[in-house]
Amino acid sequence: MIVFGFLKVLLGNVAKGPATEPFPLGPATTPARFRGKVHMDPALCVGCAICRHVCVGNAIHISERADGSGYDWVLWHNTCALCGLCQHYCPTGAISMSNDWHNAHLQAEKDEWCESRFVPYLVCERCGAHIRPLPTSVAGRLYADNHVDVARILRLCPQCRQIETALHEGVRHDDQRVA
């Protein structure tokens, strides 16, 4: 009698059955937006290090290889707070947050438990200097208003790129085609 009002609620809950998910015997629902382990797509990274700048746990390390062949981008999952700020501020969309929440691993594996990516430098077609790759999607945005050969520009170092663009623009000015 004391808890009569609540008794009805209780009986309703009993009728409803278990409220918990059957994991690990059945699947656990994971929403699409779930912020799980961070992934990085090296094909989109330009090495701007904004991700490292905003990361509160200093989880991201970017280091250039001694031979100048490129740089390593390493994120140590154990210091990552899964805040998603790196993803938010990455200008090229290279960083994404997966739906992977399986974080258990052996103590012995903790140091290797990383998202580790190597981003190779390109070699300038004109002068042979090492250059940071510029993803086509970013280049397309940058050069949207210029009538340049984007594919060719991407294979040049910034200096040669300037020269090439200047030459090209010069020709266009001569032709009076610029509005």
């Binding site: 004391i2 609620v9 929403p31 899964l82």
Partner: protein, 364 residues
């Protein structure tokens, strides 16, 4: 306050497991089983976060402040970002303002449900506790689906929000609210009239209106003692300027009144959320950021536990020169001295829980 005499003796309570698994040490002066005095000793979970903030740049501090406390984890970065925006005169776009309120009210509902649920646990009414926690799962699912995490939303960033919500997300939210609403109404009835709840919570841990005023308590503790104070209405910020915030007040000043305030505030938050979804402006969710100049600014907000204040000083660099916050629990601790006076030993955890203390906020 601790004057142990021949008649009284001192009883140590804590530092762990007084209602919540958060450490606070209470030295209680007892006369039989009646409390005559109480002395608090804090500092068990001091993490030096204000110092840490001075070693992080303005962006990193968004995430650091979100870790001050888990239950009001959205209020901290929200208020912190507002302090940066006040300092640098950044105009946050209307859609972002509205999305911020959505995140804030969702967190408020979860936080209040947790507290009233734990109250049931403390009085030994564990089936009610489980039931309330199960209702809270509705909001936990909303948070996970809309923001990607059950506690830390990562919703705020300087100049706006990190996310945009599409129609599908709003539909999920509204569906959750529709399921929660009747449950809250039923819970309100139980917390108001259930004989067991009433026997343990009515006229227990009373804080009179006068004492509440004198101690300048904030949030549901103040509103449970009849003080209609709420920063969302008294000094509106962001999208609250255009919203009609219902300031819920109860007159009893006891444990039950504070629980009722929280439950009724959940109803008010549900209304606010629906109003936000209805009137959600279109447009960008981020402002263009200027250089952050040297200067100082404050920002205030109504966190689930009451008024939260952030003070920020910058020197033109990317790292703050000083970041200080005053949390609502800090103002409410002192009230325990009055609430616990002449209380029974067995009511101590219940009264402590009724101020919904946040120790990780207080000590950071």
């Amino acid at each position: 306050m601790n004057r142990t005499t021949e008649k009284t003796y001192a009883l140590p309570i804590g530092p762990v497991h007084v209602a919540l698994e958060e450490p606070m040490y209470y030295k209680i002066e007892l006369d039989g089983e009646i409390v005559r005095g109480v002395e608090l000793t804090a500092g068990h979970v001091h993490r030096g976060m204000e110092a840490l903030a001075l070693r992080r740049n303005l962006f990193q501090n968004i995430v650091l402040t979100e870790r001050v406390c888990s239950l009001c984890s959205n209020s901290h970065p929200y208020t912190y970002c507002m302090s940066v925006e006040n300092l640098a005169d950044i105009a946050v776009p209307p859609r972002a303002q509205c999305l911020r309120v959505v995140a804030e009210e969702i967190k408020r509902i979860s936080s209040h449900l947790f507290n009233v649920g734990v109250m049931a646990h403390v009085i030994g009414y564990n089936s009610l506790f489980m039931h309330m926690m199960q209702q809270r799962e509705i909001m936990q699912d909303v948070k996970e689906t809309l923001y990607g995490n059950r506690m830390n939303l990562s919703a705020n960033c300087i100049g706006g929000v990190t996310h945009d919500l599409e129609a599908e997300a709003f539909a999920f939210l509204l569906d959750g609210l529709a399921r929660l609403e009747p449950e809250v109404a039923r819970a309100l009835d139980i917390y108001r009239t259930d004989r067991m709840v009433v026997a343990r919570t009515r006229s227990v841990g009373v804080l009179s209106r006068e004492d509440a005023l004198a101690l300048a308590v904030v949030g549901p503790v103040a509103r449970g003692s009849g003080l209609a104070t709420d920063i969302r209405r008294d000094a509106p910020y962001g999208a609250y300027v255009g919203l009609d915030v219902d300031v819920v007040v109860e007159q009893g000043g006891d444990v039950q009144s504070r629980a009722l305030v929280r439950l009724r505030e959940i109803q008010a938050s549900i209304d606010l959320l629906r109003a936000c979804v209805r009137a959600m402006p279109a447009g960008p969710t981020l402002a263009v950021l200027p250089e952050i100049p040297a200067g100082q600014a404050i920002a205030r907000s109504e966190a689930p536990r009451g008024e939260l204040i952030y003070y920020l000083r910058t020197d033109g660099s990317q790292t703050p020169n000083r970041l200080k916050w005053r949390v609502p629990s800090y103002m409410n601790w002192d009230a325990l001295g009055i609430m616990l006076r002449n209380a029974k030993v067995s009511d101590i955890p219940l009264i402590v829980n009724s101020i919904d203390p946040c120790i990780s906020c207080t000590e950071r």
